[in-house]
Every structure is written in structure tokens, then in C-alpha cells.
Symmetry: C2
């Protein structure tokens, strides 16, 4: 193993993460064993143990990897108008990024749902999910504050509005993923658009959309 | 076993359900083995196998048991005004029932969160969660339709508004349970109240609250 250059180490870790992802999609979280991961990996099980000495260490690194992929999927253009940015973020969180990234959005959502169900029992998972939550929350608060500053949005409490959007989006993703209720995302999208139009937007503001 | 009267059979099943609940709270879903359940049960493991021949059969019965408890926790008084019923349902879903039932609301939420993470892989779980979703959805739609009929609420699309409330409530529960973000429930409550006051309620309707 000592022969691995740093680059090769990164590539190997990336390969282990991809193997873990494939194993998770195939077997589900409850059956995600080191053996199941090794079966998806083209080197020996020893190589996995060299990089991650316990299953927990591997899963913590894996969650970070999933959340990075998630964050790449939801990046928004900061030059757009607040209302456009808000609707783009809503659409991306509900329907996935317009240009499909490396990961299928829904496979990623199912994977994250499963890892999150362990969060009440795992402090490190909770720390990472909380960071993810706070990142999206801060993005929403910034968009809403910008809309208020520009006179486009009513003078609502940005934190309160951000929480409402974030919980609705998260709840919709969960229902869609867990229950395969494909109509929930579209209904939530329409509901949030109605809230933006009739509650958040100043009735005297021009629409630039 | 043949000596069990029907009542004793029901009592035994109830005892197995309680043992499963204790085992789940103690070990988490991923570690919920038949042995872990048997360890919480005061009869032999054979009695569990007599009533439920596989772990899956037991877990399907257990989910039904959890959802029944959940439905008991969220019952609303149909004689109240629509807005009061809506706020009561919101409060109950966010903070648990005013009079604590047999189950601690948050323990129950954690348990349901974990079982639900398996729903994408389990058709019977999905069927039960979908039924639960549709029950709460129908309750919300009925309250909103009633509010519109009585001239208290604006003429919104009841299905769309119900989905928005339901996804926000579900998302808030998930964040609170999984991330232990205790502020999310209150922020969501305040956000939904603002939506009811400034979007759903007719501005010319009297408030009976």
C-alpha cells in the first residue's frame, strides 16, 4: 500500500465511495455490509480496510461524499432575480438538477433518506446533515432577504419563510421517495409558487420573470 | 399454543408489539433482530414465531400498530371551527398530542422514521405509509374545504394547500427527529400560522379563535 501516491489514494477512495454507493442502491442501508461493498469494488477487501478501518469510518466519509454530490446538484446562479433563484432552487430540490450530474437525483435521495434514518443514533451523521440543512437554510434566507431589500418581497421574517420552504421541500422529497407518490413534488411546487405569488411577493412589485 | 383463547392471543400479540417497540427504541431499526425482540419479551422466542412466522410478517404488523397509535394521537374535534381544527392538527403533528397517549410522541416519530426509510424497498410498508399519508391528507382537504364553504378561507385549491401543509409538517418532524433541531417545529408552526393568516384566511372573514 505504501506505493500508492497521494493521487492514487484519492482515486482509490473515490472508487471505494462509488462501490459503497452501488452496494447501497443494490442492498439497502440495513444490508450494507463491508462484504457487499467489497463485492462492488475491483480491488481486494484489504484495500478498503487500509483506507477505512471500520464500517463506521467508511460510512461517515460516504455521507460526506453524498452530501457534496447533493450540494453540486443544487447550486444556483446568484446573478438571477430573487424570485427566479427561489423557484430554481425549489425546482432543483423537487425534481433534480436540470443537467443530470454524476448521480441520479432520485437514487441519491433514496440513499440519503436511508442514511438519515440512522442520524438519531449517530452524532457524526447528525453533524453532517445539520451542516447540509444549515447550508440550504442560509441560501434560502439570503435569497429572501435580497428580495425584501430589493422591494420585491414583503417584509416577512426571512428565517421563518426559509424554514417553511425548506420543511415543505424536504417533506415532499421524503413522500416522493418513500411512497413513490410522484404527484407530491408537482403539488408542492404549485403550492409554494402560490405562496410566493400571493404571500411573499409584494403585490405592487413588478414581475421580471 | 392451542390452549390460548382468542383474547389471550390478542394480549400476546400486543405484548409482542410492545417488545418490538422497546427493542426498536433500544437498538435502532438496522439492529432489530428477532433475538433483540425476544430479549424484550417475557415468553419464549417460540411464542413470537408461533404468531409471526417471519421477521417481515412481524414488522408489517408492527408498522400497522405504530400507525394506529399515531392516528389515535392526532384525532381532532370535528365540531370546532375550520381554522381552530387546522391549527390543532398542526400543533399535534408538530408537538405531539396535548394529553400524552400510550406512546411518547417523539419516540414514536423516530420509530416511524426508521421503518419508513425501508419503504422504498418494501411494498407492504409503502402501502401502509401511503394509507397513513392519504388519511391525514383527506383530513386536511376536508378542513380546508369546510373553511372555504363557510366563507372563512379564500377559494384556494384544497388539494394543493393540503399538500403544502402536509409536506411542511412532515419535513419539520423529520428535521426535528433526525437532526434534533428543536427550533424547527416552532418556526414551522409560526410559518404555517402566517400562511393561514395572510394567505388562506379571507381578509374580510371574522376570526372566531
Amino acid at each position: 500500500m505504501g506505493r500508492d501516491s497521494e493521487d492514487e489514494g484519492v482515486d482509490t477512495q473515490e472508487a471505494i465511495m462509488r462501490a459503497t454507493y452501488r452496494a447501497l442502491c443494490k442492498h439497502g442501508y440495513a444490508n450494507l455490509t463491508m462484504q457487499a461493498i467489497a463485492d462492488e469494488f475491483d480491488k481486494t477487501k484489504g484495500v478498503i480496510h487500509y483506507h477505512y478501518d471500520t464500517k463506521e469510518t467508511l460510512l461517515v466519509a460516504f455521507l460526506e461524499y453524498l452530501l457534496d454530490a447533493f450540494n453540486e446538484n443544487i447550486a444556483v446562479d446568484e446573478n438571477e432575480e430573487p424570485e427566479t433563484r427561489l423557484l430554481t432552487l425549489i425546482d432543483t430540490l423537487l425534481f433534480g438538477p436540470p443537467e443530470r450530474g454524476e448521480f441520479d437525483h432520485w437514487e441519491l435521495m433514496v440513499a440519503l433518506l436511508e442514511v438519515r434514518s440512522e442520524a438519531p443514533y449517530n452524532e457524526e451523521f447528525r453533524r453532517q446533515f445539520t451542516h447540509n440543512y444549515e447550508t440550504i437554510e442560509a441560501t434560502l434566507v439570503a435569497i429572501i432577504e435580497d428580495g425584501i431589500d430589493r422591494g420585491k418581497f414583503r417584509d416577512v421574517d426571512p428565517q421563518l419563510a426559509a424554514t417553511l420552504f425548506l420543511t415543505a421541500l424536504n417533506g415532499a422529497r421524503i413522500y416522493q421517495v418513500a411512497l413513490r407518490r410522484d404527484d407530491v413534488a408537482q403539488l408542492t411546487r404549485d403550492g409554494l409558487e402560490a405562496i410566493i405569488d400571493d404571500w411573499l411577493r409584494r403585490s405592487d412589485a413588478s414581475t421580471d420573470r
